[in-house]
């Protein structure tokens, strides 16, 4: 089924991240995200977006990584379901730190820290 295909793409993506091949990981997550959007599955769409963010981050594509991690946050807002937000805030802040924009990084870390205790 479509759903099985999506789950297997997510699994493959994670495997490639572990094997330090972020380019291949990106392709898998990209496809997983596409299917999740067709199926209207926000939970798996967030996982794919998060994987895409991580894949870009590992390739030093920081702006793109921020875009994908932010997608997690916007799905959360739309669905009123906050799984993964803490990690997304942290990851976005990490990217801004690497970009040298410490001011923006600090703002995202503040949201990250706020959520650490209650998550």
């Amino acid at each position: 089924t479509r759903r099985d295909e999506m789950m297997s793409k997510l699994k493959e993506g994670k495997k490639y991240l572990r094997l330090r091949d972020p380019q291949k990981a990106f392709e898998e997550f990209k496809e997983a995200l596409r299917i999740a959007q067709i199926l209207g599955d926000p939970t798996e769409a967030k996982k794919a977006a998060r994987g895409l963010g991580a894949s870009c981050h590992r390739q030093r594509k920081l702006r793109e990584a921020i875009k994908y991690h932010s997608m997690v946050l916007s799905i959360s807002e739309r669905e009123k379901e906050n799984t993964g937000d803490t990690e997304a805030y942290g990851a976005i802040a990490d990217c801004y730190t690497e970009l040298g924009d410490l001011e923006t990084a600090a703002k995202y870390y503040d949201k990250y820290i706020e959520r650490l205790e209650t998550d």
Partner: protein
């Protein structure tokens, strides 16, 4: 703002430990665990790390409005960098 890179390094340090322990645990479990429980184990590892980091992270952030808080924040930063070998 000087403490921002330390927040990043401390996060990465803790995440390395979390992932290593989690993978050790899951590999020992093999296929002998349901998907739901695998998720709960992941949540557990995040919960412990996040709650332990909360205090130190909070004390790395201060608005810098008064100097006492700022100098304390920097002391916290130096202590954390020493204790977790974060200098680099």
């Amino acid at each position: 703002l000087e403490t921002v890179p330390t927040i990043k390094k401390l996060r990465a340090y803790a995440e390395r430990i979390r992932i290593a322990e989690l993978e050790k645990c899951l590999s020992k479990m093999g296929d002998d665990i349901s998907k739901k429980n695998r998720k709960l184990v992941d949540d557990l590892s995040r919960g412990i790390v996040n709650k332990l980091l909360h205090g130190p992270m909070q004390h790395l952030r201060c608005d810098g409005s008064d100097s006492r808080t700022l100098s304390e924040t920097l002391e916290n930063m130096h202590a954390l960098e020493r204790m977790f070998s974060l200098e680099s």
